[in-house]
């Protein structure tokens, strides 16, 4: 569950990344955040991950008040999030497998659980034949799948993907969106930003939030039938 109320984000140089954000995202949903470049999509994700703090207003993520979160709680919150960054942030020089389990090494999984989850997830993103390849040598799309596997293998409550379709053609974009959506379950929310609104026109059973100039809310766009 994510709740934002009159949320503002002002960068040190004075730029307003977000202004007056009001929304409620229940858990177990697929959420698309759309909007033109520079509208504040990434800014919102940064707030969710605690990479920035609200300048004003109120934000809770998975029950944590992001205005008053200490380092310890922030680390714990991040362990429940599976982030897929726009630049993937893979660990260079390591294998696919190593990149996938790095997010699980410090979680409460046993060694065999880690192994099983990693293998299953790598298979699910279609990289089982590349499991021992060094990520530096993979194609863009393959690297993206590694990033997805790392994010979801740890069984997060919140999966966040920033612009996953940015560098893909239409077919591949749809495939990646389908893959990401497939990780939604009763507990797990999937949040995806994209400016490719045409790709999700036909999407059903999801929440679409449009951002304009840092303003976004779930009031006018509904998570109703047209979605």
């Amino acid at each position: 569950m994510i709740i934002a109320n009159k949320l503002y984000l002002k960068y040190p140089d004075g730029t307003l990344g977000l202004k007056d954000v009001n929304l409620v995202i229940p858990s177990g949903e697929v959420v698309y955040i759309t909007g033109p470049s520079g509208s504040g999509k990434t800014s919102f994700l940064k707030l969710l991950m605690g990479m920035e703090s609200p300048s004003d207003g109120y934000l809770t993520v998975l029950g944590k008040d992001m205005n008053n979160i200490n380092n310890r709680e922030l680390r714990r919150l991040r362990r429940s999030i599976g982030p897929i960054f726009q630049d993937f942030k893979l660990l260079d020089g390591r294998t696919v497998y190593e990149n996938v389990i790095i997010g699980m090494r410090f979680l409460d999984f046993s060694k065999s659980e880690i192994q099983n989850l990693a293998l299953a997830t790598i298979k699910r993103v279609g990289l089982d034949h590349k499991i021992n390849s060094i990520v530096d040598n993979l194609s863009y799309g393959e690297r993206q799948r590694v990033a997805i596997a790392r994010a979801v293998a740890r069984r997060p409550l919140l999966i966040i993907a920033d612009e996953p379709t940015g560098n893909l053609d239409k077919d591949n974009s749809l495939n990646i969106l389908d893959l990401l959506k497939s990780f939604k379950d009763n507990n797990t929310t999937v949040i995806i930003t994209t400016h490719a609104t045409h790709l999700i026109e036909d999407e059903q059973d999801c929440i679409k939030i449009n951002v304009l100039n840092g303003k976004m809310s779930t009031e006018e766009v509904s998570y109703e039938s047209n979605c």
Partner: protein
């Protein structure tokens, strides 16, 4: 703790990655640290050897008492025995005196053949308690018939000067070594962190605990200093072995401490020190890069 144990292999692979990222710096640091620790162990062994010599000489503390021929030596002897601080006395006649000197001079003693009579005088060898040497010399000198009292206090005083000089030097070197080690270790850790800052950032975004992120760097620092400590031990072993064999063949009357004993002592000291300094240096390095 469980996480650390489960990830031991990972941490060591991480060290390898960190080291490989800047291999040359790491090698140079280890070489400089090895020489620094070598310097330290040299000064420690020097101090140890001098200390040993002092005790050996103190145990042998004795004075030589020369007397005029017209007096009964046993009378002087019995008077000496009354003085406090005397451990033992021994009468040495001319022939024994010559034999002693012949032994000390070795080859050179052939010079005595040039004399047509024995040039040595008889004397009394008096073993004493070293700390009372001044009063003993004074009292023995005042006995009638005593012409000359010779003591080895001068050598001892010299050795003690050397010893306190080495102590002072040792202290300065320990300080210098510590500072240099801390600087080198923390610098290399800082560099490692800098080169790995993207990965560290990623781990933070994934919620990794700080100890999980830092441990490889601390281990790297420790490994580096301990490795340097070991290298310096090898250097010391070679050098000391050489010094010992040279001393034994050319200066056999110098008593050196047991080689194994001194080596063990110094291995313990350097390893302890390199461990402590490596740990502190790494923590320094980490501290100074905290965002």
């Amino acid at each position: 703790m469980k996480v650390i144990v489960r990830n031991t292999g990972y941490f060591f692979r991480e060290i390898k990655t960190i080291v490989k990222l800047d291999l040359l710096s790491n090698i140079f640091s280890i070489i400089s640290l090895s020489f620094i620790f070598f310097l330290l162990s040299l000064i420690f062994s020097g101090g140890n050897i001098v200390e040993h010599m002092i005790t050996a000489i103190e145990d042998e503390a004795q004075i030589s008492v020369y007397y005029s021929d017209d007096i009964d030596v046993t009378i002087i002897g019995s008077q000496i025995k009354e003085i406090s601080g005397i451990r033992d006395i021994l009468y040495i006649d001319e022939t024994e005196a010559k034999a002693e000197m012949t032994e000390i001079m070795g080859e050179e003693s052939r010079i005595f053949e040039l004399f047509d009579h024995n040039p040595f005088d008889p004397y009394i060898k008096v073993k004493i308690e070293l700390d009372q040497v001044d009063t003993i010399v004074e009292e023995v000198s005042s006995i009638s018939g005593v012409e000359l009292v010779r003591d080895n206090k001068e050598i001892l005083d010299k050795l003690k000067d050397i010893s306190s000089l080495i102590s002072l030097l040792g202290l300065l070197i320990v300080i210098a070594v510590s500072v240099a080690t801390l600087i080198i270790t923390s610098h290399i850790i800082r560099q490692g962190i800098y080169l790995n800052k993207e990965q560290i950032n990623t781990l933070r975004l994934l919620g990794a605990p700080e100890y999980f992120i830092r441990l490889p760097f601390i281990l790297e620092g420790l490994l580096m200093t301990i490795l340097s400590g070991l290298m310096s031990n090898i250097m010391l072993f070679v050098v000391l072995k050489y010094i010992y064999s040279q001393t034994m063949s050319f200066l056999p009357f110098i008593t050196l401490p047991k080689f194994n004993g001194i080596m063990t002592l110094i291995i313990l000291i350097t390893l302890g020190l390199s461990f402590a300094l490596g740990l502190i240096g790494s923590l320094f390095g980490l501290k100074s890069t905290n965002k």
